[in-house]
Symmetry: C2
């Protein structure tokens, strides 16, 4: 076992980091550099000439990929090897098979567990197809997805990204927060008699989701509607929610599908296929599957998620940049950064390696972002002239979704959007000199663009999988387990204790003053408000 800081590529990169390329220097950012630092696959171009890398840095990064066997690990993951584990300690000990959820096209991955997972997923897909035909006949128009975390963020981000492609008279809504105002607002917006409520929880025991389910049931009953006719479960087989008496249909997920990787499982499939119709929905899966295969490519120069991962590692571990912004120049992708926050930070915000030892290097960065051009009128001041450098992953599209555009002064809105994207990418890299220190731009803000034709189902599927594999590759390189989330347990345990206190106070029961006194101090302050 070789630790990250003992890799020979890391030694080279540590040498190279001392003197990173200066993109503000005349003659550095040339058209030749832009052309040479362009990778392309699946209709997506990655323009990374504006990252602070040289050919030497890229070579050393590719060597890092070799030394850490990332392609082999990716293949093992997709084949169903147990990669969700920490050696020598109690852990989840599971396969990681979200790629099997969309492995229905072309050549399948024949890894033994992978194949079985694909077969099971295909059964659910067939069931979903039949179900949607029924629903079509019965005239349902709305679907409310009740879930939190991965049962909300990814499915919501993708739905919004593709809302332009939904069937007429179909709409999807989401309830996630245990905040009761969230459910109230949605319920007041739909006609419940034409609405399906999809309750999503792998464990069948998620506090927020079950609480919201109860709220919805109360509302349905008040309207004189049968809860069973309107409620659908997406859950693990034999979970407390796997109960045909309570739901008109149950769709299954499995323990090898992590919440943040579950968009292409039934967690996202039910709402997306309801909204888009089967054909466009399959295009979305097709895009994801194509990216899964690309991630296995040993031709590093076309392996987009690997290049993205390596550039991220360079920025994080060698340029020492603590955050990473993802900025899609598309309003439809407004919630994509929120999904990536979970995907990336829950996967790679880890402090021990796969052998249970604390790491002595940085792992996953703080991921954040908003759509452009909006961000330009918000936080770009800080990005251009702040004291903390923020690397950016831009996403851009040649065409708009609705093609409802207008030429003003000789250019369309879509062209203006793209002009802004290109301008930011270049300006952040080159900066600008000025005698007025307030108009001086230091430049050398690393960034790259993922440029593609249109924000359509296939492309969004490919982009979803791009980020899943970028994150997985970084986890392989950092030698961490990107697939568990032990860091969320402490909060749950403590919250349950405090919920208990609330219940006791209501019943007039005594609470031992020595039991979690800090929480009692907080409750005292609350009570006094």
């Amino acid at each position: 076992m070789t630790l990250f800081n003992q890799l020979s590529s890391v030694e080279k990169l540590t040498e190279l980091e001392r003197n990173p390329i200066d993109l503000t220097h005349e003659g550095i950012l040339t058209t030749k550099r832009v052309d040479e630092m362009t990778a392309e696959a699946l209709g997506i171009k990655m323009l990374y000439g504006t990252e602070r890398v040289t050919d030497k840095v890229m070579e050393a990064l590719f060597e890092l990929a070799d030394e850490t066997n990332v392609i082999e690990k990716m293949a093992l993951m997709q084949a169903g090897e147990v990669v969700n584990k920490i050696e020598g300690y109690e852990c989840e000990n599971r396969s990681v098979l979200h790629t099997a959820m969309r492995d229905f096209f072309d050549k399948r991955n024949e890894g033994p567990r992978g194949k079985e997972a694909t077969d099971l997923a295909y059964q659910e897909l067939e069931k979903l197809k039949r179900f949607l035909e029924e629903v079509e006949k019965q005239g349902f128009t709305d679907l409310v997805q009740i879930g939190i975390g991965g049962s909300d963020l990814g499915p919501r981000a993708i739905y919004l990204s593709l809302e332009a492609y939904k069937k007429e008279n179909r709409k999807v809504h989401f309830i996630s927060n245990v905040d009761p105002d969230d459910a109230h607002k949605i319920f007041s917006e739909v006609d419940p008699s034409k609405t399906l409520f999809v309750v999503v929880s792998k464990s069948g025991s998620t506090l927020e989701t079950l609480t919201n389910e109860e709220l919805i049931k109360k509302h349905l009953e008040e309207k004189g509607l049968s809860t069973k006719d309107h409620m659908i479960a997406v859950t693990g087989k034999s979970s407390p929610m796997d109960n045909p008496d309570k739901y008109r249909e149950s769709f299954y997920i499995w323990d090898y599908i992590g919440g943040r990787y579950s968009v292409t499982s039934m967690v996202g499939c039910v709402e997306l296929a309801f909204a888009l119709g089967m054909e466009k929905f399959l295009d979305f899966l097709r895009g994801a599957n194509a990216m899964d295969k690309l991630a296995l490519s040993k031709d590093y120069k076309e392996n987009l998620p690997l290049i993205g991962a390596l550039l991220g590692v360079w920025n994080r571990n060698f340029l020492h940049l603590p955050t990473c912004a993802v900025i899609p120049y598309s309003q439809a992708m407004i919630r994509f950064p929120a999904h990536l926050q979970q995907l990336d930070m829950e996967s790679n915000g880890k402090r021990i390696n796969k052998h249970g030892e604390p790491v002595d290097y940085d792992t996953g960065p703080i991921v954040w972002g908003e759509p452009g051009t909006n961000g330009q009128h918000s936080f770009y001041q800080c990005i251009h002239q702040g004291t903390t450098t923020v690397p950016i992953e831009f996403i851009g599209f040649k065409e708009s979704q609705y093609a409802d555009d207008l030429e003003v002064k000789g250019t369309s809105s879509q062209e203006k959007l793209l002009a802004n994207l290109f301008a930011q990418s270049i300006g952040l890299a080159t900066g600008k000199r000025s005698d007025n220190p307030n108009k001086f731009f230091p430049g050398n803000r690393p960034n790259h663009i993922l440029l593609t034709k249109k924000c359509d189902p296939y492309t969004i599927g490919a982009l979803l999988a791009y980020f899943e594999h970028k994150v997985a590759f970084q986890g392989f390189i950092w030698d961490i387990n990107s697939f568990d989330q032990e860091g969320v347990q402490l909060g749950k345990v403590l919250a349950n204790k405090i919920i208990d206190f609330f219940a006791k106070m209501k019943n007039g029961e005594e609470i031992d003053p020595k039991d979690f006194p800090i929480a009692q101090a907080y409750l005292k302050h609350l009570k006094a408000m």
Copy 2:
């Protein structure tokens, strides 16, 4: 002039940072500490016992406030002194008078420019009142705000926060992005005959906004509606948009109102008063005004925005934490963090001090956030166990907005929400030991809670102003100009060049290959897609 790093308080704090208090240590986080580290004013409690501060640190921070004369600077700002400037260089050279937009209650600030600004603002408010009475009679139900940056983020964040309080049959929508899909989607959702379109641009020349205005006009004309009857301008006097032939009404803003500080000017007032009605809207202004006055208090222990600012400076400059998350445990506040990104990062993401010299200390952090409990199911893994510590500013409410709640297992959803908030605050500070390294929580993640009764107009007004003054205080301490945004200019200039290229290409005009060749390389890649 004393530079930040030469202040005697900074010297003390630098000494203290070497050995910050260890909150994970048994007996450190006591109920006594929680009680003593609670500040309270305007019905808001700030619980900061979970920050890594001691009495000595707080003393030194208050000394920092003294040394940098922050209260005096706040008073000068509110009185209308020209505080938006860089000494010795061409700059905006303006007063900063957003506080005058809500200075109608109790005792007014009598600073000469402040008083004049308040009088002008009051005239607009009277005009708005008359206008809304007309609109009421004419049966308008919807309002679309067309603006970007400060004309969008703040007004949208506040509207969503207070949507529970809106009048029946009133709804506000927002179009911001130059992405044409944004306008298309909104227009398809409203009945244009009953809709007002409010175009907001101080300069009257914002590219995105004017483009969207044209798109909307096209749609109105297609429907056979008079554009003038439906369009309202919010702009600077004598801007290109100040044109009574084109708009049914114009409301004015002034150069002393920065975009990110404009929510309580007509930029936010028109849509908020339309939605909430005059009475609740004035409550919102009243809350902001009360916080303005609190920010002038020399009793530091009740001056909430000052304490917030100082804790932020401790985390940023002494604990060296690059980001700051704001996490409201309220779904209604979902876009509040996006507003704070602009407010904070555009104000304090600066690299020179007010004398034009580059700073040698960190200024504004990267601000980000999502509502809780949602975040718990997303990025909290990284917050608890990642390698980069994230300080958090939590916001919590005793009561829900709609009071549409349900008891499940003896507690309401609102109580579960609060239990989670308290659990996170405590767990992040104390951490948890375990023999399984994956279940070990290092703790010492600094955080505090702003706890208040209800997310209502007065409180949201107070919270809005809390953050405005927190940011201003930090700017005073760092000796930077928090009120300009020169860092957004470069992108605009470069974007206009590229927009020109698009127009030329369409006309078949030649572009000189030596003119901005990198942009031409990008365009070549786009064309080849």
